[in-house]
Protein backbone atom coordinates (compact mmCIF):
# COMPACT_ATOMS: atom_id res chain seq x y z
CA UNK A 1 0.00 0.00 0.00
CA UNK A 2 2.69 2.45 1.05
CA UNK A 3 4.96 1.54 -1.80
CA UNK A 4 2.05 2.05 -4.15
CA UNK A 5 1.55 5.55 -2.77
CA UNK A 6 5.24 6.33 -3.12
CA UNK A 7 5.17 5.11 -6.65
CA UNK A 8 2.25 7.35 -7.45
CA UNK A 9 3.93 10.37 -5.85
CA UNK A 10 6.97 9.73 -7.94
CA UNK A 11 4.87 9.50 -11.07
CA UNK A 12 3.15 12.75 -10.26
CA UNK A 13 6.45 14.47 -9.66
CA UNK A 14 7.87 13.21 -12.87
CA UNK A 15 4.80 14.29 -14.81
CA UNK A 16 5.02 17.76 -13.27
CA UNK A 17 8.67 18.15 -14.18
CA UNK A 18 8.00 16.90 -17.67
CA UNK A 19 5.15 19.35 -18.01
CA UNK A 20 7.33 22.21 -16.82
CA UNK A 21 10.01 21.38 -19.34
CA UNK A 22 7.40 21.30 -22.09
CA UNK A 23 6.16 24.65 -20.86
CA UNK A 24 9.64 26.16 -21.04
CA UNK A 25 10.22 24.83 -24.52
CA UNK A 26 6.94 26.15 -25.83
CA UNK A 27 7.44 29.34 -23.85
CA UNK A 28 10.67 29.99 -25.75
CA UNK A 29 8.92 29.42 -29.07
CA UNK A 30 6.06 31.61 -28.00
CA UNK A 31 8.41 34.45 -27.01
CA UNK A 32 10.17 34.32 -30.37
CA UNK A 33 6.89 34.31 -32.24
CA UNK A 34 5.54 37.16 -30.14
CA UNK A 35 8.67 39.22 -30.82
CA UNK A 36 8.37 38.57 -34.54
CA UNK A 37 4.71 39.47 -34.53
CA UNK A 38 5.51 42.69 -32.69
CA UNK A 39 8.43 43.53 -34.98
CA UNK A 40 6.43 43.13 -38.16
CA UNK A 41 3.30 44.76 -36.79
CA UNK A 42 5.15 47.83 -35.52
CA UNK A 43 7.27 47.99 -38.66
CA UNK A 44 4.34 47.58 -41.02
CA UNK A 45 2.74 50.79 -39.79
CA UNK A 46 5.39 52.85 -41.59
CA UNK A 47 3.86 51.93 -44.92
CA UNK A 48 0.84 54.02 -44.04
CA UNK A 49 3.14 57.05 -44.04
CA UNK A 50 5.44 56.21 -46.90
CA UNK A 51 5.21 53.73 -49.77
CA UNK A 52 7.33 50.59 -49.61
CA UNK A 53 9.10 51.74 -52.77
CA UNK A 54 10.16 54.99 -51.14
CA UNK A 55 11.17 53.14 -48.01
CA UNK A 56 13.26 50.43 -49.65
CA UNK A 57 14.72 52.45 -52.52
CA UNK A 58 14.73 56.01 -51.19
CA UNK A 59 18.24 57.41 -50.99
CA UNK A 60 17.76 59.96 -48.23
CA UNK A 61 17.41 59.12 -44.55
CA UNK A 62 16.26 62.24 -42.68
CA UNK A 63 13.79 60.92 -40.15
CA UNK A 64 13.49 63.97 -37.91
CA UNK A 65 12.90 66.70 -40.48
CA UNK A 66 9.57 67.92 -41.63
CA UNK A 67 8.61 66.35 -43.88
CA UNK A 68 10.68 63.34 -42.81
CA UNK A 69 12.35 61.16 -45.42
CA UNK A 70 12.65 57.44 -44.77
CA UNK A 71 14.89 56.12 -47.53
CA UNK A 72 16.59 53.04 -46.12
CA UNK A 73 18.74 52.21 -49.14
CA UNK A 74 21.89 53.97 -47.81
CA UNK A 75 21.59 51.97 -44.59
CA UNK A 76 21.11 48.65 -46.35
CA UNK A 77 23.98 49.55 -48.64
CA UNK A 78 26.19 50.35 -45.66
CA UNK A 79 25.37 47.06 -43.97
CA UNK A 80 26.10 45.01 -47.09
CA UNK A 81 29.25 46.96 -47.86
CA UNK A 82 30.94 46.44 -44.50
CA UNK A 83 29.83 42.81 -44.37
CA UNK A 84 31.38 42.19 -47.76
CA UNK A 85 34.49 44.13 -46.78
CA UNK A 86 34.84 42.07 -43.63
CA UNK A 87 34.46 38.74 -45.43
CA UNK A 88 36.87 39.72 -48.16
CA UNK A 89 39.75 39.37 -45.74
CA UNK A 90 38.42 37.30 -42.87
CA UNK A 91 37.10 34.41 -44.98
CA UNK A 92 40.43 33.53 -46.65
CA UNK A 93 42.30 34.10 -43.41
CA UNK A 94 39.80 32.13 -41.36
CA UNK A 95 39.80 29.19 -43.77
CA UNK A 96 43.58 29.22 -43.98
CA UNK A 97 43.81 29.28 -40.23
CA UNK A 98 41.36 26.39 -40.03
CA UNK A 99 43.41 24.30 -42.48
CA UNK A 100 46.54 25.01 -40.50
CA UNK A 101 44.95 24.16 -37.16
CA UNK A 102 43.23 21.02 -38.44
CA UNK A 103 45.91 19.58 -40.68
CA UNK A 104 49.34 20.98 -40.06
CA UNK A 105 49.78 22.35 -36.55
CA UNK A 106 51.42 20.28 -33.84
CA UNK A 107 49.09 19.51 -30.92
CA UNK A 108 50.74 22.19 -28.80
CA UNK A 109 50.42 24.95 -31.38
CA UNK A 110 46.90 23.80 -32.15
CA UNK A 111 45.93 24.21 -28.49
CA UNK A 112 47.46 27.70 -28.36
CA UNK A 113 45.79 28.82 -31.59
CA UNK A 114 42.43 27.45 -30.55
CA UNK A 115 42.68 29.27 -27.24
CA UNK A 116 43.45 32.51 -29.12
CA UNK A 117 40.47 32.08 -31.40
CA UNK A 118 38.27 31.48 -28.40
CA UNK A 119 39.57 34.63 -26.73
CA UNK A 120 38.88 36.58 -29.91
CA UNK A 121 35.33 35.26 -29.90
CA UNK A 122 34.89 36.25 -26.28
CA UNK A 123 35.90 39.90 -26.56
CA UNK A 124 32.82 42.12 -26.11
CA UNK A 125 31.87 44.05 -29.22
CA UNK A 126 32.16 47.40 -27.47
CA UNK A 127 35.86 46.70 -26.95
CA UNK A 128 36.28 46.11 -30.68
CA UNK A 129 34.40 49.33 -31.33
CA UNK A 130 36.59 51.21 -28.91
CA UNK A 131 39.68 49.85 -30.61
CA UNK A 132 38.34 50.95 -34.00
CA UNK A 133 37.46 54.41 -32.79
CA UNK A 134 40.45 55.31 -30.66
CA UNK A 135 43.35 53.37 -32.19
CA UNK A 136 42.50 52.28 -35.71
CA UNK A 137 40.78 55.49 -36.84
CA UNK A 138 43.71 57.88 -36.20
CA UNK A 139 46.08 55.29 -37.66
CA UNK A 140 44.11 54.92 -40.91
CA UNK A 141 43.79 58.68 -41.09
CA UNK A 142 47.53 59.25 -41.09
CA UNK A 143 48.47 56.23 -43.22
CA UNK A 144 45.99 56.85 -46.03
CA UNK A 145 45.75 60.62 -45.43
CA UNK A 146 41.97 60.53 -45.47
CA UNK A 147 39.85 63.19 -43.73
CA UNK A 148 38.46 60.72 -41.19
CA UNK A 149 39.42 57.22 -40.09
CA UNK A 150 35.84 56.42 -39.16
CA UNK A 151 34.88 54.77 -42.40
CA UNK A 152 33.74 51.56 -44.09
CA UNK A 153 37.36 50.32 -44.19
CA UNK A 154 37.73 50.65 -40.44
CA UNK A 155 34.41 48.91 -39.81
CA UNK A 156 35.36 46.13 -42.25
CA UNK A 157 38.57 45.44 -40.36
CA UNK A 158 36.76 45.35 -37.03
CA UNK A 159 33.90 43.20 -38.31
CA UNK A 160 36.34 40.85 -39.99
CA UNK A 161 38.09 40.35 -36.67
CA UNK A 162 34.74 39.56 -35.11
CA UNK A 163 33.68 37.15 -37.85
CA UNK A 164 37.06 35.40 -37.89
CA UNK A 165 36.45 33.07 -34.90
CA UNK A 166 33.09 31.97 -36.31
CA UNK A 167 34.53 31.20 -39.73
CA UNK A 168 37.60 29.49 -38.29
CA UNK A 169 35.84 27.25 -35.81
CA UNK A 170 33.18 26.11 -38.28
CA UNK A 171 35.77 25.41 -40.98
CA UNK A 172 38.12 23.69 -38.58
CA UNK A 173 35.34 21.42 -37.39
CA UNK A 174 34.44 20.59 -40.98
CA UNK A 175 38.03 19.80 -41.97
CA UNK A 176 38.65 17.74 -38.85
CA UNK A 177 35.52 15.74 -39.60
CA UNK A 178 36.81 14.58 -42.99
CA UNK A 179 37.02 10.76 -42.63
CA UNK A 180 40.50 9.39 -42.16
CA UNK A 181 40.02 6.66 -44.75
CA UNK A 182 39.72 9.26 -47.48
CA UNK A 183 42.96 10.95 -46.53
CA UNK A 184 44.77 7.67 -46.06
CA UNK A 185 43.59 6.52 -49.46
CA UNK A 186 44.98 9.71 -50.92
CA UNK A 187 48.34 9.21 -49.21
CA UNK A 188 48.38 5.60 -50.38
CA UNK A 189 48.01 6.82 -53.95
CA UNK A 190 51.26 8.72 -53.46
CA UNK A 191 49.72 12.18 -53.02
CA UNK A 192 51.67 14.72 -50.93
CA UNK A 193 50.20 16.33 -47.85
CA UNK A 194 49.35 19.50 -49.76
CA UNK A 195 47.74 17.55 -52.59
CA UNK A 196 45.66 15.67 -50.03
CA UNK A 197 44.52 18.91 -48.44
CA UNK A 198 43.75 20.48 -51.79
CA UNK A 199 42.02 17.58 -53.50
CA UNK A 200 40.52 15.68 -50.59
CA UNK A 201 40.11 17.61 -47.35
CA UNK A 202 38.90 20.94 -48.71
CA UNK A 203 36.45 19.62 -51.30
CA UNK A 204 34.95 17.21 -48.78
CA UNK A 205 34.71 19.89 -46.10
CA UNK A 206 33.54 22.63 -48.46
CA UNK A 207 29.92 22.49 -47.29
CA UNK A 208 30.94 23.07 -43.69
CA UNK A 209 33.37 25.80 -44.71
CA UNK A 210 30.69 27.65 -46.68
CA UNK A 211 28.38 27.28 -43.75
CA UNK A 212 31.01 28.89 -41.51
CA UNK A 213 31.48 31.78 -43.93
CA UNK A 214 27.76 32.42 -44.02
CA UNK A 215 27.52 32.27 -40.23
CA UNK A 216 30.36 34.80 -40.17
CA UNK A 217 28.35 36.98 -42.53
CA UNK A 218 25.39 36.77 -40.18
CA UNK A 219 27.64 37.77 -37.32
CA UNK A 220 28.95 40.76 -39.28
CA UNK A 221 25.64 42.09 -40.53
CA UNK A 222 23.98 41.86 -37.12
CA UNK A 223 26.81 43.50 -35.21
CA UNK A 224 25.79 46.85 -33.77
CA UNK A 225 28.03 48.42 -31.16
CA UNK A 226 31.33 48.00 -32.97
CA UNK A 227 30.09 49.43 -36.28
CA UNK A 228 28.28 52.22 -34.50
CA UNK A 229 31.60 53.29 -33.04
CA UNK A 230 33.84 52.65 -36.04
CA UNK A 231 31.89 53.35 -39.22
CA UNK A 232 31.21 57.08 -38.86
CA UNK A 233 27.45 56.68 -39.46
CA UNK A 234 26.92 59.01 -42.41
CA UNK A 235 23.88 57.74 -44.33
CA UNK A 236 25.33 57.98 -47.83
CA UNK A 237 25.64 55.56 -50.72
CA UNK A 238 29.26 55.29 -51.71
CA UNK A 239 31.59 52.86 -53.44
CA UNK A 240 34.67 54.03 -51.59
CA UNK A 241 35.70 52.14 -48.49
CA UNK A 242 37.33 55.30 -47.19
CA UNK A 243 34.03 57.13 -46.76
CA UNK A 244 31.94 56.94 -43.61
CA UNK A 245 28.86 54.75 -43.94
CA UNK A 246 25.88 53.88 -41.76
CA UNK A 247 24.45 50.41 -41.19
CA UNK A 248 20.91 49.27 -40.37
CA UNK A 249 21.91 48.19 -36.89
CA UNK A 250 23.72 51.42 -36.09
CA UNK A 251 20.69 53.45 -37.17
CA UNK A 252 18.39 51.57 -34.82
CA UNK A 253 20.86 51.92 -31.95
CA UNK A 254 21.44 55.62 -32.63
CA UNK A 255 17.85 56.69 -32.96
CA UNK A 256 15.59 54.29 -31.10
CA UNK A 257 16.18 55.73 -27.65
CA UNK A 258 14.75 59.09 -28.54
CA UNK A 259 12.25 58.42 -31.28
CA UNK A 260 8.84 59.27 -29.77
CA UNK A 261 6.84 56.09 -29.31
CA UNK A 262 4.22 55.66 -32.00
CA UNK A 263 5.73 58.26 -34.35
CA UNK A 264 6.53 57.41 -37.99
CA UNK A 265 10.21 57.50 -37.04
CA UNK A 266 9.64 54.81 -34.40
CA UNK A 267 7.82 52.58 -36.87
CA UNK A 268 10.48 53.18 -39.53
CA UNK A 269 13.11 51.88 -37.10
CA UNK A 270 11.03 48.76 -36.49
CA UNK A 271 10.79 48.28 -40.23
CA UNK A 272 14.60 48.46 -40.42
CA UNK A 273 14.67 45.77 -37.75
CA UNK A 274 12.36 43.64 -39.86
CA UNK A 275 14.63 44.01 -42.90
CA UNK A 276 17.60 43.04 -40.77
CA UNK A 277 15.72 40.04 -39.44
CA UNK A 278 14.84 38.85 -42.93
CA UNK A 279 18.47 39.13 -44.04
CA UNK A 280 19.97 37.27 -41.11
CA UNK A 281 17.18 34.69 -41.24
CA UNK A 282 18.08 34.07 -44.88
CA UNK A 283 21.73 33.61 -43.91
CA UNK A 284 20.80 31.11 -41.22
CA UNK A 285 18.54 29.11 -43.52
CA UNK A 286 21.23 28.96 -46.21
CA UNK A 287 23.83 27.87 -43.66
CA UNK A 288 21.48 25.19 -42.31
CA UNK A 289 20.72 23.83 -45.76
CA UNK A 290 24.41 23.71 -46.63
CA UNK A 291 25.25 21.90 -43.43
CA UNK A 292 22.45 19.40 -43.95
CA UNK A 293 23.61 18.63 -47.47
CA UNK A 294 27.18 18.39 -46.38
CA UNK A 295 26.34 15.99 -43.53
CA UNK A 296 24.38 13.80 -45.90
CA UNK A 297 27.28 13.73 -48.31
CA UNK A 298 29.64 12.62 -45.54
CA UNK A 299 27.23 10.21 -43.92
Amino acid sequence: MISNLRFRMKRIREKTIEGLIHLFAFGAIFIVLAMLFFLFREGGVIFRVTSWKNFLFGKIWLPTYSPPQFGSLPLLWGSLMVTLGALLWSAPLGIGLAIYVAELASPKIRAILKAFIEVLAGIPSVVFGFFGMVILAPFLQSVFSIPTGLCAFNASIILGLMALPTITSFSEEAISAVPHILKEASFAMGATHWQTIKYVSIPVASGGIFCGVIMGMGRAIGETMAVLMAAGNAPIITLSFFEPIRTLTATIALEMAEAPKGSPHYHALFALGAILFIISMAFNVIADLLQERWKRKLG
Partner: protein, 272 residues
Protein backbone atom coordinates in the same frame (compact mmCIF):
# COMPACT_ATOMS: atom_id res chain seq x y z
CA UNK B 1 -26.32 38.82 1.09
CA UNK B 2 -23.12 37.01 0.44
CA UNK B 3 -22.88 38.76 -2.92
CA UNK B 4 -23.32 42.19 -1.32
CA UNK B 5 -20.67 41.44 1.23
CA UNK B 6 -18.23 40.42 -1.49
CA UNK B 7 -19.00 43.61 -3.39
CA UNK B 8 -18.31 45.67 -0.26
CA UNK B 9 -14.94 44.01 0.29
CA UNK B 10 -14.07 44.58 -3.32
CA UNK B 11 -15.06 48.25 -3.18
CA UNK B 12 -13.05 48.80 -0.03
CA UNK B 13 -9.97 47.15 -1.47
CA UNK B 14 -10.00 49.17 -4.69
CA UNK B 15 -7.91 52.04 -3.32
CA UNK B 16 -5.34 49.45 -2.31
CA UNK B 17 -4.44 48.81 -5.93
CA UNK B 18 -2.57 52.07 -6.58
CA UNK B 19 -0.97 51.75 -3.16
CA UNK B 20 0.27 48.29 -4.04
CA UNK B 21 1.54 49.61 -7.34
CA UNK B 22 3.28 52.67 -6.02
CA UNK B 23 4.39 51.66 -2.56
CA UNK B 24 3.61 54.19 0.10
CA UNK B 25 1.24 56.30 -1.93
CA UNK B 26 2.95 59.68 -2.33
CA UNK B 27 3.81 59.70 -6.00
CA UNK B 28 5.20 62.43 -8.19
CA UNK B 29 5.32 61.90 -11.94
CA UNK B 30 7.67 63.83 -14.21
CA UNK B 31 7.54 63.46 -17.95
CA UNK B 32 9.04 65.10 -21.02
CA UNK B 33 12.30 66.18 -22.60
CA UNK B 34 15.16 63.71 -22.72
CA UNK B 35 17.54 66.65 -22.41
CA UNK B 36 16.11 67.49 -19.01
CA UNK B 37 15.83 63.84 -18.03
CA UNK B 38 19.31 63.46 -16.49
CA UNK B 39 18.69 66.50 -14.27
CA UNK B 40 15.29 65.25 -13.18
CA UNK B 41 16.65 61.81 -12.46
CA UNK B 42 19.54 63.04 -10.35
CA UNK B 43 17.42 65.57 -8.50
CA UNK B 44 14.71 62.96 -7.90
CA UNK B 45 17.28 60.62 -6.36
CA UNK B 46 18.46 63.40 -4.08
CA UNK B 47 14.91 64.32 -3.14
CA UNK B 48 13.90 60.74 -2.38
CA UNK B 49 16.94 60.30 -0.17
CA UNK B 50 15.84 63.30 1.90
CA UNK B 51 12.15 62.33 1.89
CA UNK B 52 11.86 58.60 2.38
CA UNK B 53 8.42 57.33 1.42
CA UNK B 54 8.09 59.64 -1.56
CA UNK B 55 8.12 57.91 -4.90
CA UNK B 56 9.17 59.91 -7.97
CA UNK B 57 8.77 58.48 -11.42
CA UNK B 58 10.70 60.18 -14.24
CA UNK B 59 9.76 59.43 -17.83
CA UNK B 60 11.14 60.62 -21.17
CA UNK B 61 9.25 60.96 -24.42
CA UNK B 62 10.22 64.48 -25.45
CA UNK B 63 9.05 67.95 -24.50
CA UNK B 64 5.82 67.69 -26.48
CA UNK B 65 4.87 64.43 -24.83
CA UNK B 66 5.54 65.87 -21.38
CA UNK B 67 3.39 68.93 -21.99
CA UNK B 68 0.60 66.78 -23.43
CA UNK B 69 0.82 64.67 -20.26
CA UNK B 70 0.52 67.78 -18.11
CA UNK B 71 -2.57 68.85 -20.02
CA UNK B 72 -4.15 65.40 -19.69
CA UNK B 73 -3.23 65.12 -16.05
CA UNK B 74 -1.05 62.04 -16.48
CA UNK B 75 2.00 63.78 -15.03
CA UNK B 76 2.54 66.38 -12.31
CA UNK B 77 5.54 68.11 -13.83
CA UNK B 78 6.34 68.44 -17.52
CA UNK B 79 10.02 68.67 -18.39
CA UNK B 80 10.64 70.81 -21.44
CA UNK B 81 13.61 72.08 -23.40
CA UNK B 82 11.46 74.71 -25.10
CA UNK B 83 8.82 77.21 -24.09
CA UNK B 84 5.20 76.19 -24.29
CA UNK B 85 3.60 76.91 -27.65
CA UNK B 86 0.58 79.25 -27.86
CA UNK B 87 -1.75 76.39 -28.84
CA UNK B 88 -0.60 74.41 -25.80
CA UNK B 89 -1.28 77.40 -23.54
CA UNK B 90 -4.70 77.73 -25.15
CA UNK B 91 -5.46 74.09 -24.40
CA UNK B 92 -4.39 74.55 -20.79
CA UNK B 93 -6.77 77.48 -20.46
CA UNK B 94 -9.59 75.34 -21.84
CA UNK B 95 -8.80 72.78 -19.14
CA UNK B 96 -9.04 75.53 -16.57
CA UNK B 97 -5.50 76.26 -15.47
CA UNK B 98 -2.60 78.50 -16.31
CA UNK B 99 0.66 76.56 -16.47
CA UNK B 100 3.45 77.85 -14.30
CA UNK B 101 6.86 77.96 -15.93
CA UNK B 102 9.96 77.32 -13.80
CA UNK B 103 13.39 77.76 -15.31
CA UNK B 104 15.54 75.09 -13.65
CA UNK B 105 18.78 75.09 -15.65
CA UNK B 106 20.56 76.35 -18.74
CA UNK B 107 22.07 74.27 -21.49
CA UNK B 108 25.00 75.53 -23.56
CA UNK B 109 26.31 73.77 -26.65
CA UNK B 110 29.97 74.27 -27.45
CA UNK B 111 31.27 74.09 -31.01
CA UNK B 112 34.57 72.22 -30.98
CA UNK B 113 37.42 71.58 -33.39
CA UNK B 114 40.72 69.73 -33.26
CA UNK B 115 43.39 71.57 -31.22
CA UNK B 116 45.55 71.72 -34.37
CA UNK B 117 42.97 73.96 -35.99
CA UNK B 118 44.12 77.61 -35.70
CA UNK B 119 40.63 79.06 -36.07
CA UNK B 120 39.25 80.78 -32.99
CA UNK B 121 35.69 81.49 -33.87
CA UNK B 122 32.90 81.19 -36.41
CA UNK B 123 29.64 82.97 -37.01
CA UNK B 124 26.28 81.24 -36.91
CA UNK B 125 25.91 81.56 -40.67
CA UNK B 126 29.37 80.07 -41.27
CA UNK B 127 28.43 77.18 -38.98
CA UNK B 128 25.22 76.69 -40.91
CA UNK B 129 27.08 76.62 -44.21
CA UNK B 130 29.49 74.03 -42.82
CA UNK B 131 26.76 71.81 -41.43
CA UNK B 132 24.56 72.00 -44.51
CA UNK B 133 27.49 71.19 -46.77
CA UNK B 134 27.96 74.54 -48.53
CA UNK B 135 31.46 75.00 -47.09
CA UNK B 136 33.44 71.77 -47.33
CA UNK B 137 37.06 72.85 -46.98
CA UNK B 138 38.85 74.72 -44.23
CA UNK B 139 40.59 76.74 -46.96
CA UNK B 140 37.38 78.69 -47.42
CA UNK B 141 37.58 79.77 -43.79
CA UNK B 142 41.19 80.85 -43.89
CA UNK B 143 43.02 77.69 -42.83
CA UNK B 144 44.92 75.26 -45.07
CA UNK B 145 43.54 72.94 -47.74
CA UNK B 146 41.88 70.37 -45.49
CA UNK B 147 38.51 68.71 -45.90
CA UNK B 148 36.02 69.56 -43.18
CA UNK B 149 34.80 66.47 -41.35
CA UNK B 150 31.40 67.39 -39.99
CA UNK B 151 30.49 65.53 -36.80
CA UNK B 152 26.96 65.63 -35.43
CA UNK B 153 24.98 64.05 -32.64
CA UNK B 154 22.32 61.59 -33.80
CA UNK B 155 19.31 63.38 -35.17
CA UNK B 156 17.01 62.19 -32.39
CA UNK B 157 18.98 63.69 -29.51
CA UNK B 158 18.08 66.84 -27.63
CA UNK B 159 21.49 68.32 -28.32
CA UNK B 160 20.90 67.93 -32.03
CA UNK B 161 17.43 69.43 -31.66
CA UNK B 162 18.85 72.56 -30.04
CA UNK B 163 21.71 72.89 -32.52
CA UNK B 164 19.29 72.30 -35.36
CA UNK B 165 17.00 75.06 -34.20
CA UNK B 166 19.57 77.72 -33.39
CA UNK B 167 22.27 77.06 -35.98
CA UNK B 168 20.77 75.12 -38.86
CA UNK B 169 17.38 76.85 -38.66
CA UNK B 170 15.96 73.44 -39.61
CA UNK B 171 17.84 73.19 -42.90
CA UNK B 172 18.83 69.56 -43.51
CA UNK B 173 22.28 68.47 -42.39
CA UNK B 174 24.77 67.44 -45.07
CA UNK B 175 24.49 63.68 -45.67
CA UNK B 176 28.29 63.47 -45.36
CA UNK B 177 28.10 64.27 -41.66
CA UNK B 178 29.32 61.64 -39.22
CA UNK B 179 26.81 60.80 -36.53
CA UNK B 180 27.87 59.88 -33.04
CA UNK B 181 25.71 58.51 -30.27
CA UNK B 182 27.04 60.55 -27.37
CA UNK B 183 28.78 63.80 -26.47
CA UNK B 184 31.80 61.77 -25.44
CA UNK B 185 31.99 60.02 -28.81
CA UNK B 186 31.84 63.38 -30.62
CA UNK B 187 34.70 64.68 -28.45
CA UNK B 188 36.85 61.60 -29.15
CA UNK B 189 36.20 61.82 -32.89
CA UNK B 190 37.05 65.52 -33.01
CA UNK B 191 40.15 65.05 -30.88
CA UNK B 192 41.66 62.48 -33.25
CA UNK B 193 40.52 63.93 -36.56
CA UNK B 194 42.46 66.95 -37.81
CA UNK B 195 39.75 68.45 -40.00
CA UNK B 196 36.82 67.73 -37.72
CA UNK B 197 34.20 70.06 -36.30
CA UNK B 198 31.59 68.97 -33.80
CA UNK B 199 29.30 70.21 -31.07
CA UNK B 200 28.87 68.95 -27.53
CA UNK B 201 27.14 69.87 -24.31
CA UNK B 202 29.34 72.30 -22.41
CA UNK B 203 29.80 69.83 -19.58
CA UNK B 204 31.74 67.60 -21.94
CA UNK B 205 34.39 70.15 -22.89
CA UNK B 206 37.88 68.76 -22.35
CA UNK B 207 41.41 69.85 -23.19
CA UNK B 208 41.62 67.36 -26.06
CA UNK B 209 39.22 69.50 -28.10
CA UNK B 210 39.19 73.23 -28.76
CA UNK B 211 36.06 75.25 -28.19
CA UNK B 212 35.31 77.98 -30.73
CA UNK B 213 33.77 81.34 -30.07
CA UNK B 214 30.39 81.65 -31.76
CA UNK B 215 29.62 85.16 -33.00
CA UNK B 216 32.67 86.26 -31.02
CA UNK B 217 31.51 84.83 -27.69
CA UNK B 218 33.25 81.94 -25.96
CA UNK B 219 31.00 79.38 -24.28
CA UNK B 220 31.26 79.59 -20.52
CA UNK B 221 29.00 79.42 -17.52
CA UNK B 222 28.97 83.17 -17.38
CA UNK B 223 28.22 83.93 -21.04
CA UNK B 224 25.46 81.34 -21.10
CA UNK B 225 23.91 82.67 -17.91
CA UNK B 226 24.02 86.22 -19.21
CA UNK B 227 22.38 85.07 -22.41
CA UNK B 228 25.11 86.36 -24.72
CA UNK B 229 26.36 82.97 -25.90
CA UNK B 230 24.07 82.21 -28.83
CA UNK B 231 23.94 78.39 -28.83
CA UNK B 232 22.19 77.98 -25.52
CA UNK B 233 18.70 77.51 -24.19
CA UNK B 234 16.84 77.44 -20.90
CA UNK B 235 15.33 74.22 -19.59
CA UNK B 236 11.94 74.26 -17.89
CA UNK B 237 9.60 72.50 -15.57
CA UNK B 238 5.91 73.19 -16.19
CA UNK B 239 3.28 72.59 -13.53
CA UNK B 240 -0.49 73.01 -13.34
CA UNK B 241 -1.02 76.45 -11.78
CA UNK B 242 0.69 77.57 -8.60
CA UNK B 243 2.82 74.69 -7.30
CA UNK B 244 1.45 73.16 -4.10
CA UNK B 245 2.34 70.40 -1.67
CA UNK B 246 4.77 67.79 -2.92
CA UNK B 247 5.20 69.50 -6.30
CA UNK B 248 6.21 72.72 -4.55
CA UNK B 249 8.59 70.88 -2.24
CA UNK B 250 10.24 69.21 -5.21
CA UNK B 251 10.61 72.43 -7.17
CA UNK B 252 11.96 74.25 -4.12
CA UNK B 253 14.53 71.50 -3.84
CA UNK B 254 15.56 71.79 -7.51
CA UNK B 255 16.10 75.53 -7.10
CA UNK B 256 17.86 75.20 -3.73
CA UNK B 257 21.68 75.35 -3.61
CA UNK B 258 21.76 71.56 -3.12
CA UNK B 259 19.51 70.97 -6.11
CA UNK B 260 21.42 73.37 -8.32
CA UNK B 261 24.62 71.60 -7.34
CA UNK B 262 23.13 68.38 -8.74
CA UNK B 263 22.22 70.28 -11.93
CA UNK B 264 25.85 71.23 -12.30
CA UNK B 265 26.96 67.66 -11.57
CA UNK B 266 25.05 66.26 -14.55
CA UNK B 267 26.60 68.89 -16.79
CA UNK B 268 24.16 71.76 -17.05
CA UNK B 269 24.40 75.36 -15.92
CA UNK B 270 22.60 76.31 -12.72
CA UNK B 271 20.20 79.23 -12.90
CA UNK B 272 21.09 80.47 -9.43
Amino acid sequence: MKFLKALKVLALSLPLIPMLLFGSGKVLVLQGSTTVLPIAQRVAEGFMKRHPGVEISVRGGGSGVGIAGLLDGTCDIAMSSREMKPEELQKAKEKGFIPEEIKIALDGIAVVVNPKNPLNGLTISQLREIYTGKITNWKELGWRDEKIVVVSRDSASGTFECFNEIVLKKEPLTPRALYQASNKAVAVTVSNTKGAIGYIGMAYLEPKVKALAVEGVMPSEETVRKGIYPVSRPLFFYVRGEPKGLVKEFIDFVLSPDGQKLVKEVGYIPVK
